[in-house]
């Protein structure tokens, strides 16, 4: 058995961060997209799993820690930054993530939010902004635009919204970024950059509440227009956007303006992004759609000592003068009281709910269901069985690499499934594995076992799942071949995007 190329170091992958908890978000919620990217990015940030903690407050987004297979606290409404601050200064080795929403983080928790940021505690704050209270079923939130009609603002909200980025900048945030839930790759990059920053990192995520505010980000996030509606910021590069990269942002006095390139205006006239400029960050934070494209990416990034560094320095200085402290001495140095037992509190009497509810009024507040297209229905209602998956070619783990590759060539296929002695799926071996780990790296293919070069424990689906699930695995996790298994984990088939296209093409002509 050859073990030449097996890394000795334990490498984490996405699955290590997936918990076994039932996910209680509505079908189609943008939170899923965020969860997937966090789970994908964490194995790459260079922090051991046991040093990662997720702390949340109250709200839909705050259910996040249950779904992460890490340490976590589902804490008090709005107070996640305070618990996180305590943890971060007690154990500076931790990577502490605060998960909050526009309600939790900016309403009840607004103060904790700005103070964590101004102290520059080493936290990563993920602010899920859907501009609505989702968990309590659709009231206006601190980021809802003025005039927003909701169940708690039937004639339109009178409140001006908070701009989370401007608020964080006012607290002199050292890292501020913005991303969109449906823009998966870019979202993952924002999380990675946040994780690498020392100090408070804020990532505002435009998140889609499919039930109570499904149209809030529609005009910005639609894939067809994204190049026109988003301004992807890159440090040191001019601010260009548009499908044909023919528009830009310039300064006119103190104000940003959108200009068309050509007719006398060149790239040299445009604003160049500078992550270290606070003034520019304020200008960017003030740009709102549709007057401007929405700036996304890292808006501000500067280095400043963290709260913990300062605190540890003070402790060291104090100890140098006074010596190490003693908790018992401290505890007994002040007055002590003994609290005597007292009566149980009276049970409060519950009041009657008002029966006088105007059903018509409640019905009027319900959102119109969003119409779906033929292709959306196809992805959700047609199953993987409808793709008529090809039967897989399977081999044992002790098959030689030479034989395995020969099998792939004989059958003209891109992947083999590896099964155990009970014919259960234990691995997948693809052309990519040959490229990445075999050719030119393994001298004697006849002496090496495919089991040592396969991807063990691959993601496998069942045939009753919707096509959308396969597209999810392909788009979010980058798989090109997906094995199908039965309930006993016996391989039943293999699907690739080509099968999806074949099915769609047939559906195109049928309609």
């Amino acid at each position: 058995m050859s073990t030449n190329n097996i890394p000795l170091e334990l490498k984490l992958n996405r699955k290590d961060f997936v918990s076994d908890q039932t996910v209680r978000w509505c079908p189609g919620c943008g939170d899923y997209a965020i969860l997937a990217q966090v789970q994908k990015v964490l194995p790459t940030i260079g922090v051991p799993k046991e040093n990662i903690v997720f702390i949340s407050g109250i709200g839909c987004s705050s259910r996040f820690p249950y779904y992460m297979n890490t340490y976590g606290i589902h804490s008090i409404h709005g107070r996640a930054p305070t618990l996180a601050t305590g943890l971060a200064i007690t154990n500076p080795d931790l990577s502490v993530w605060v998960v909050t929403g526009d309600g939790d983080g900016l309403s009840i928790g607004g103060n904790h939010f700005i103070h964590a940021i101004r102290r520059n505690v080493d936290l990563n704050i993920l602010l899920f902004n859907n501009r609505i209270y989702g968990l309590t079923k659709g009231q206006y939130s601190p980021t809802s635009p003025r005039g927003k009609v909701t169940k708690s603002s039937p004639m339109g909200s009178l409140d001006n919204p908070i701009n989370p980025i401007s608020l964080a900048l006012a607290a002199d945030a050292t890292f501020v970024a913005r991303a969109l839930d449906a823009d998966t790759k870019h979202l993952g990059e924002a999380f990675y950059e946040a994780s690498q920053h020392k100090g408070t990192s804020l990532v505002e995520i435009y998140q889609n509440c499919v039930i109570f505010n499904p149209t809030e980000w529609e005009s910005i996030s639609d894939r067809r227009n994204r190049a026109e509606t988003l301004l992807y910021l890159k440090h040191g590069e001019p601010m260009i956007f548009g499908k044909n990269r023919d528009k830009g942002v310039m300064l006119d006095g103190f104000n940003p303006i959108v200009v068309e390139l050509g007719s006398g205006i060149t790239e040299d006239d445009l604003l160049v992004h500078d992550e270290t400029s606070k003034e520019l960050a304020f200008i960017l934070s003030s740009m709102s759609f549709p007057e401007f494209p929405v700036p996304v990416g890292v808006i501000r990034r500067v280095v400043r000592p963290t709260y913990t560094e300062g605190l540890l320095q003070q402790i060291k200085e104090a100890q140098d003068i006074k010596g190490p402290g003693d908790l018992y001495t401290l505890y007994t140095s002040a007055d002590l009281w003994t609290i005597s037992e007292h009566d149980e509190p009276q049970t409060a009497q519950s009041g009657e709910l008002s029966q006088d509810v105007n059903e018509q009024y409640v019905d009027d507040l319900e959102q119109e269901p969003v119409e779906t297209t033929f292709i959306q229905d196809l992805m959700v209602e047609n199953t993987l069985a409808d793709l008529k998956p090809k039967p897989p070619i399977t081999v044992d783990a002790d098959t030689s690499l030479e034989k395995a590759i020969r099998q792939m060539n004989t059958h003209n296929i891109g992947c083999l499934l590896i099964t155990d002695d009970k014919d259960r799926l234990i691995g997948i071996f693809t052309e990519r594995d040959v490229l990445m780990r075999v050719t030119g790296l393994v001298d004697d293919l006849a002496a090496a076992d495919v089991g040592d070069y396969m991807t063990a424990d691959p993601v496998a689906l069942t045939a009753d799942l919707p096509i959308a699930q396969a597209l999810h695995e392909m788009s979010v996790h980058g798989f090109r071949h997906l094995p199908l298994v039965d309930s006993e984990y016996h391989p039943e088939g293999i699907i690739s995007f080509r099968d999806v296209i074949n099915h769609m093409k047939a559906s195109f002509t049928d309609n």
């Binding site: 039932t22 997209a33 997937a36 998966t184 297209t373 980058g478 090109r480 074949n502």
Partner: protein, 155 residues
């Protein structure tokens, strides 16, 4: 607008065409292979000057090189597919997709007006478009399929 019409009206240049690497004629197969590994890319375009003259993919490695490692020292030109299918960046996404489908190819180089390489279209380009176009159906799904909630307002 149906997806069919949408892909017909979307230019191929507006898809994500990244993820390829390129080298020049005469490069050894082993060097091309290392380049692909470094870039985590499954395709290497081969150029002569600015002109695309061939395409070298992971499939070539599996079918032609894996069991004949003596070929690693040969120039990539001997293994690559010469004069590969390519498409203009002004073509529609649909045109590119059906060309890939009909010709059974997984990489379709996209050329700018002047013949230089603008990118490499793959099924992944389309998958990413579909996902971003229909995030509610495709992207917003739980980490494990069995965790999918059966009704709204799961909390």
């Amino acid at each position: 607008m149906s997806l069919k019409e949408e892909l017909e009206s979307e230019q191929v240049a507006h898809l994500d065409l990244s993820g390829y690497c390129q080298t020049v004629t005469g490069t050894a197969v082993s060097d091309a292979l290392n380049l692909m590994r470094q870039n985590r890319s499954n395709v290497c375009l081969v150029l002569d000057g600015d002109q695309l003259i061939g395409i070298f993919t992971e499939r070539d490695i599996v079918r032609k090189v894996a069991l004949h490692q003596e070929l690693l020292d040969r120039p990539v030109d001997e293994i690559m597919t010469a004069d590969p299918f390519a498409i203009s960046c002004e073509s529609s996404a649909a045109e590119a997709l059906w060309l890939m489908h009909d010709k059974h190819i997984r990489n379709l180089p996209v050329l700018a007006e002047d013949g230089s390489i603008a990118g490499d279209m793959t099924y992944r380009s389309v998958i990413q478009y579909l996902a971003a176009r229909y995030p509610i159906e495709v992207i917003n799904r739980p980490p494990q399929p069995a965790q999918f909630p059966r009704k709204v307002e799961g909390g």
